[in-house]
Symmetry: C2
Subunit: 126 residues, 2 copies
């Protein structure tokens, strides 16, 4: 007899009610993270996190051996790249390839909110 495979049900996550934690990395200023889909949900490939960066805040200037896939939900910002700054706004997607230097800073008075997906085996915010 074969063992039946347990199929999990789809799950809806209210991100507005999801607990936010301060990002503790060196080089971060005034950023919160919500880890809304992770390995704990059974996700095998990638993790979905939502970041809130308060006006004047930023993420660290760094690079790492895995990519980011980002969607900007609110606010506006400037991305540091090895070839100079790039501006971005709500509704933009951003692809950060592995090993590319990057940093996100807020522009204007609104909180910058973005989704950032990474391979499940990585978590640069821990």
């Amino acid at each position: 007899m074969s063992t039946p495979v347990q199929t999990l049900l789809p799950k809806v996550i209210d991100t507005a009610a999801f607990p936010a934690k301060p990002v503790q990395m060196e080089g971060v200023k005034d950023a919160l993270i919500r880890e809304v889909i992770t390995g704990a949900d059974g996700a095998p490939n990638f993790a979905m996190r939502i970041f809130d960066v308060a006006p004047g805040g930023h993420t660290p200037r760094h690079s790492h051996n895995y990519e980011h896939e980002i969607y900007v939900l609110a606010g506006a910002g400037e991305m540091h790249t090895a070839e100079g700054p790039r501006t971005f706004k709500a509704g933009d997607a951003i692809y950060v390839p592995a090993n590319a230097e990057h940093q996100f800073r807020t522009v204007g008075g609104e909180t910058l909110r973005f989704i950032c997906l990474i391979p499940i085996a990585q978590n640069c915010a821990r």
Copy 2:
């Protein structure tokens, strides 16, 4: 001499200006897709697509051997699951595990817009 590794630069994508294509799958009604980050960008692990489902429209009722990670940008909907419907709204994230039956229908008069990420090797909208 070692060969230098080419590091690509981060890339900002204006999704509002990104071309949308009708989703051609059987069982789909009134849905558009924007494939904003794919293997063509060098993305090694996952693809980011944005779907617009017009009021009264829906995605196919199906299952497949890979997961979806979804973030709802606008509108509201009802998700079919093997254990009945689940409602969702803008600001919700949805995790659909591999092999879980699912379908998304609009609720209300607003276009349902969501981001849907899948492993790069898969593309259920083709």
